[in-house]
Each structure stands twice: as structure tokens, then as C-alpha cells.
Symmetry: C2
């Protein structure tokens, strides 16, 4: 058997090409500012460069790597460019990339504690660290009634929260029942689309999701929530779940957790708090007030893969009572039974998430926290917030522009006073120029531009340049 | 700003430590056969080695890398060891690891076509390649009514299939309705636990999942399926979904797709086919009969992250009519609107999956297919099947042992004739020895050992050694 052609790379080839890939990534970062942030390709342009059929025989890795540059790179929108200000960031860092590399090399599948104890225990431990770093209520730690788990995204975390809430309200899993159309969920009309998606997936039905009105800061009105719950109870619906947002996607609005929390407590509703991007700010004591009232929450999530230098996918999802989540999601077929699971002394994370399998994702988060330390992470959060506040100041000082809302942290929502059409043209021209990438939303029923400062390597010069380009293109339009 | 401490690694440090990580992985593979396959640690042992609190200031990457070896490695169950025969494999390869590295380096988020056109177009294109490589019906290609998408796992693919089926049967998403308890789903009593989990998540209710009886080959009995559907219709339930399995987890049993497919067609039920591990075999023309009847299916999935040298997560999920899937999962908030989406000319994969965000996962699959070519992939599939058949022959030739079922491909289900207790002891001692890792199931109500040949570097000598160790430990028990 050993004399036969194996088709595998030899160990020497692995070392050689592995180094070439590391250098390729380093070269990419060295030139990233020279590339158009927003890919200018047309629909179908990348596919047209790919062979119609798969290769019958293997190709050299040199050729493959050449094609990444020649075929793939022109179709990449550069999320890691310091001129990326769109959506929310998805920033990464060297230690995180190395964590992904080691995870890929080990190739472990952490569905059960037994299938790699270190994969489970490092995750539990690092999420307890994270709870300490953000100063979350103690109940969210594994050493209390709750604990943390890494999900692929806040969407999946929200879905898990809905399912755990459904279980606590109905014991569907235990009783083997399906939904009956009576359950009702609540969130603000500014909440992320993933709440609507979760409610649809879970069979609750979109018509049973109430989108509560917001105040002038685009934060949920607690009185409206209370009023709607009362109406639903009167109509013999069964309120079971509220999602409050700490930093909405459109405008970074902060729902008032203490008031919402008291209403949830009164009516025994599951409170999930979505802090997908803004949660990271709680690393810094001066921003921790965003989490006031979190002691009322049953679950909480934020994404180190947005603003904490950790590669997607890394959403940290915390529950106050882990048993509700496990009850909603556990399965135990014979082929997954093992002594460790039967002992009850270990966590099997397959019961804390939608899929069965899972990668070793805590490695990258562990690497990031150890490389930067709390000090380094705080430094960058403060720097990003300061840059956004600087930008907001420039906007306010220019009569042609206005802020849609005061920016609480690192997201600035602003617009030209000339109306939707001017703002649309401004955004399109800026993005087409390749110099920066901005996205939009609608606030106060007007098209509003969003500039979010959160990319790993964004510095003052990039934000200054963005503002200069905005003024230049504005001048062209006038 | 530039004179300030950045806490980031410098480009030179990135190159230096990146090479160190590549070498670390290469060194790991060089010594992997000397490590106990199944981690011998006790619950809590890894956590006890970790500092109670996160570091205030950053640490050196040398120290971090040292701890991977000292703290993490003892708690790793080595899925990439050639002596790993447990569960189904999760094999990886050098080109796949490099694909993960470049994906981590680019750090793109492919939720929309516009957020990185290459991420979407490469995925669509490579999944059309895969459909060609497995000779799937043309309807599953993007150039027809369907198309492929990479999911994290077959569990998520099954959930998407259930949701698309629910949508086609009820138009819940369009009509904004929740589940009403009438929908009924079907699968065999040998199907993967993820089907039960999907049905629970989707609000269908476990009581509305019928587990159809199987024949002596542990394959679903189509007459039983037809009978149950008739009973449910009589009781005014609404049958809507059938999952058939090509290669069950317990025993690699193959459900009869043509007969099941005709029943689904007759009753207008969504047929999902789960080929999570065995599907890869269809790379080889001589094994393609496992997919006979796939022309009746509405959706199909298999996992290159199991048996096709591609890192977890990489499940290929194909649908025959993409619109049902999109109807079930689409959301379009203002902040995600863009010209490409509005044009209808592009795919936005956020509407083909549970989460919103997604990694650039097609890179690793593209790398694997190009590196090995069809020829190399077929070589390894044939080699693994042959090794499993060799092992099955040795079992049959030993009076103390028996095969539970004839092994169709690369999974051998066997047991000592001495009963459950002997088999349990045999498995426990083998796994504790660290020489190999086997898992079990229950077949014909008896504890049965499973030996699955599918690890990238498993050769004849590893399978020979496994059989030698099995006989040695058996002798100790006698």
C-alpha cells in the first residue's frame, strides 16, 4: 500500500505551501488599502472565470494560489480594509487567524465533551472569562445556574433563546407537542431581522410577533410593551418572549432594559438581550451602563466576531438557566451515548445549539484575549468610539449635513439635508469609487447613511479621508 | 496616532508566528500516531489548568503556542489520527486547511452577494461541480430550478428542508401563520437524531414525527410509510415531509428511494434525502446506485466534512426548487437592501440558511477538488471501502465474532458473540488503551461495535493493527 500514489501533500509540501499561504495573507494585508473596498464586479463575472467542469486530475497548489489572486480577489469586498465602514464590522486579528489555523489543523469535532474534552472545557472557561470581562451578572456563568456557549451568529443565538423560552412556557419538547398558534413574542420595530426569522422558524408565526413602537431615540417604549401584553392576555394569547436590543443595527439605539426587565419579570416572560455589536463596549467600565438591567435577562448575546478582533463565527451566547436551553434542544441517540454524558458531570454542547457538530472555536477567542489582554481590547474600543465621535463632530459642524440621532458609541447615522435622492447618489458614488464602503438605513422615514468605526486597522487618517471624500462627492453633486 | 502602542502584531510578527503555527500543525501530524486517540482526561481536568481570570495585559504568542501543546493537546480526541474509527469520520487534508487559512485571512462575511460576490459565486459554481461529480439529477443545479449551498451541518440542512417543506405545504411565511399542530413528518426509526431535532425546532412537535419501521437490512419499509400516511390522512392530519437516509448513522442502511419517492410524489410530500457520509461514495460510478431514485427528491445533502477531506463545517445541501427554501427563510430589512439584491440577478445566501452571516467556506472545497481531482478523490473512497471490506472479512472468519449487517461501504457493524457486557468491556478497554477509537450502537437490540474507515491517513497497517488489538483484548476478556 505504501508504494502506491497517495495524492496527499507530503509533510514537506505542507510546510512549504503553508508558509506560502501565510505570506499570501501577509501580502494581502500589505496591499489592502490599494484595493477597492467594495468589489466592482458585475453579477456572474467571477463564475465566468471558472472552468465549467471540475478537474479530472489534481492541479498544483501553486496554480490554485495564483487563481485566488487572479479569480477570487477581484470579487472580494474587503471587510478587513481600514476603509470599511459598512454594516457592522467583522474585524479579525493575527492571533484570531492563528486560532482558526490550529482549529483547522486539529480538525476536532466537539459535539460531545468526550469527542474532545479540551474543546468543551476551554469554551466553558473562556466564556466565564468573557462574562467577567463584560461584568455580566454572575448567573450567566457556568459556575452558577447558567453558562456560555459559542454560536455561529446572533441569529442562531436568538433562535436558541426563542426555543428555550418556548420550552419554558409550554414544555413542548417534554410533552412532544407542536405549536398551537397561541404564543406571542415581542421586540421593538428597530430589532434585528433575525428575531422575525427565529419566530418564523420556530413555528410561532410572523403574525404572533409584535413590533413595539420606539421613542425619539429609537428605543423600545416600555409602556407600549406593557399595553400590548395586556391586550394579548385579554385575547387569550400566551405572551412568552421579549427581545430587547443593546445597540440596534440601524442606529445603535439602546432599549431600556430595567423597565423592560421588570415587565418581563411581572408576566414571567423570557427576556433575551441582543448586544451583537455594542456588547463589546462593556469591556470598558465607562460604557457598562448599556447593560444596566441585564440582571432581569434570561439570555444575552454579543459577537466578538463583530467588534472584538475574532473571526466570524464567534457569537457568545449566555443563559441564566442552562436547563431550559438543554430541555429544548437535547437528543440522545444510542450512537452518541457515552460514560461521560451518562455521568452528568460534563457539558455536551450539542444540546446548546441547532447543529450537532461544532468546530473548536474557543481557540481563536482564547488567543485574542491572551494576545491583547483586557488593556489592549479596551484601548481599541475606546479608540473606535473616539474616532466615531470625532466624525460626528465634523458632521455637526457642516451645515449641509445632520446627525439622525446622537451616536452612542461607534456608529454614526447622518445624512445630507438635501433629501433621499442626494443621499442615495452620495452613497453610490462613494462606494463605486472604491475608496470607502458605507451602508444606509431608514430613520425618521428618511434615507440615512451609516458610518461604523470598528475595523481592526482603522485609524484617524482613514476616518479623516472618509469625511474628505464625502465632502468632495457632495460638492460634485451640488 | 501612529506613535501610540497599537497592541496589534506587526506584519513581520504575523509572518514569523504564522510560520510557527504551520510548523506546529506539521509537527502535530508527524507525531499523531504516538498520541492516545481517545483523550484520557477526567472531567474538569483541562479547566483546572487554565487561569481563573483573564489576563489584564497581553501575553507573548510563544507562551500561547506552548499552552496549546501543554494544556489543550492532552484534552484532544484525535479525529485526524489514522487510528480513529469512531462515529463517522471528519477527515481533513492539507488543501482544505489552506482554504480555511485563506478564508480566515480574508475575513469576508458572505451574507449577501454584494458583501463579497466571489464568496457567493464560487460557492454556487463549486456546488454545481459537486452535483456533476456525484451525478445528481440536473434539477439540483443552479443552472436549473434548484441549486446548492454550503450549510454548517446535515442537521441544519435537514432543518432547512423541513422549513422549506412546511412553507410549500402551508405558506406560513407568506401568510404569517404559526404551526397549528396538524402537520406530520416521516422518517425511519434508524434516521439521524437531527430529524427529530429539526421537527421539534420547527414547532411541528415530536408527536407528529412518525418513525417508520425498517426491514432486515434496517432500511425503511415503504409499505409501512404508505400505511401510516393513509392513517394520518384519515385522522385529518397533514402529511408534508419525508426524510429518507442513504447510509444511516448506526449501520449505513440505505432506504429504498424509488419506492419512497413514488409515495411522496403521489401524496405531494417533500422528500429530503440525507446522505451525510455515504453520499461521497457516489464519486465512484460503481457506488452510484445508492442514489437511484434521487430524481424524486426535493432536497439532498451530504457532508464533504465527513468523508471528502474538507474541514468541518461543509455540508452540501441541494434543493430542486430554490424558491420554496427562499420563501421560508427570506428577510429583507432596509439595512440589507442593495442594488444587486433588488435586481434579482444574484443569489443572497442569507435566504438559504438559518443564520444571517456566513464564512467563505467554498474556498476549502474548491481547493480540495482541485488538489485531488476526481481521480484522487475516487482513489481514496475506493481504498477506504476496500479496507472496511477486508476488515469485515476478518470478522467473518473468526468464530467469536459476527457481522450485525453486511457492510455496504466503509462502515462495519460487528460484535462479539458473547453478549452486550463483553462488547462493552471490549470497546471500553480498546478506547482506554489509546491505540484506536471505536464507538457503538444498538442493532437487533444488541450492543454492536462500529468501525468506520474514513480518516485521511488510514492505511492497511492501521486496520490490521485495529483487528490485532481487538483480538488481543478479546483474549484478555476470555
Amino acid at each position: 500500500m505504501t508504494s502506491e500514489k497517495s495524492y496527499h501533500m507530503t509533510p514537506a509540501e505542507f510546510r512549504r505551501y503553508g508558509r506560502a499561504v501565510v505570506d499570501w495573507i501577509a501580502d494581502y494585508y500589505a496591499k489592502i488599502e490599494s484595493l477597492p473596498v467594495f468589489s466592482p464586479v458585475k453579477a456572474g463575472q467571477i463564475r465566468a472565470l471558472l472552468p465549467a467542469h471540475p478537474p479530472s486530475t489534481g492541479e498544483s497548489f501553486d496554480d490554485i494560489l495564483k487563481d485566488v489572486a487572479a479569480v477570487i480577489l477581484p470579487g472580494v469586498t474587503h471587510w478587513q480594509s481600514p476603509n470599511f465602514f459598512a454594516f457592522f464590522p467583522a474585524n479579525v486579528s493575527a492571533p484570531s487567524i492563528f486560532g482558526e489555523m490550529i482549529s483547522a489543523g486539529l480538525g476536532v469535532q466537539g459535539m460531545l465533551w468526550a469527542t474532545s474534552p479540551a474543546c468543551t472545557e476551554l469554551e466553558t472557561h473562556v466564556l466565564d472569562w468573557v462574562a467577567e470581562m463584560l461584568n455580566l451578572p454572575a448567573k450567566f456563568r457556568s459556575t452558577h445556574s447558567g453558562g456560555g456557549v459559542i454560536q455561529d451568529s446572533a441569529s442562531s443565538a436568538s433562535l436558541c433563546a426563542v426555543l428555550a423560552a418556548r420550552e419554558r412556557a409550554t414544555q413542548y419538547a417534554t410533552n412532544e407537542q407542536g405549536c398551537d398558534g397561541r404564543l406571542v413574542a415581542y421586540t421593538s420595530n428597530q430589532a434585528h431581522s433575525s428575531i422575525e426569522k427565529a419566530v418564523k422558524i420556530a413555528g410561532i408565526g410572523r403574525k404572533n410577533l409584535r413590533l413595539i413602537e420606539v421613542d425619539e431615540h429609537l428605543a423600545m417604549r416600555p409602556q407600549e410593551l406593557a399595553r400590548q401584553i395586556a391586550l394579548d392576555r385579554q385575547a387569550e394569547h400566551v405572551p412568552f418572549f421579549v427581545c430587547a436590543t443593546v445597540g440596534t443595527t440601524s442606529s445603535n439605539a439602546m432599549d431600556p432594559l430595567p423597565e423592560i426587565g421588570r415587565i418581563c419579570r411581572e408576566h414571567d416572560l423570557w427576556l433575551h438581550v441582543d448586544g451583537a455589536m455594542a456588547g463589546t463596549a462593556a469591556l470598558c467600565p465607562e460604557f457598562r451602563s448599556i447593560h444596566d438591567g441585564l440582571e432581569f435577562a434570561d439570555s444575552y448575546c454579543f459577537n466578538p466576531h463583530k467588534w472584538m478582533f475574532t473571526n466570524f463565527d464567534c457569537d457568545c451566547f449566555f443563559v441564566a438557566e442552562r436547563q431550559s436551553l438543554i430541555d429544548a434542544l437535547s437528543i440522545l441517540p444510542e450512537y452518541l451515548r457515552n460514560k461521560a454524558t451518562d455521568s452528568g458531570a460534563v457539558i455536551d454542547y450539542r444540546d446548546w445549539q441547532i447543529p450537532l457538530g461544532r468546530r473548536f472555536r474557543s481557540l481563536k477567542l482564547w488567543f485574542v484575549i491572551r494576545h491583547y489582554g483586557l488593556e489592549g481590547l479596551r484601548h481599541h474600543v475606546r479608540r473606535h468610539v473616539q474616532l466615531a465621535q470625532d466624525f460626528a463632530g465634523w458632521v455637526q459642524a457642516d451645515d449641509r449635513f445632520e446627525l439622525a440621532v446622537p451616536p452612542p458609541l461607534n456608529l454614526v447615522c447622518f445624512r445630507h439635508r438635501g433629501g433621499d435622492s442626494v443621499n442615495q447618489q452620495l452613497m453610490d458614488r462613494l462606494n463605486q469609487s472604491g475608496d470607502l464602503y458605507l451602508t444606509h438605513t431608514r430613520l425618521q422615514d428618511r434615507l440615512t447613511l451609516r458610518l461604523c468605526v470598528g475595523q481592526t486597522h482603522t485609524e484617524l487618517r482613514h476616518v479623516t479621508c472618509a469625511w474628505r471624500r464625502i465632502r468632495e462627492v457632495t460638492a460634485e453633486l451640488e
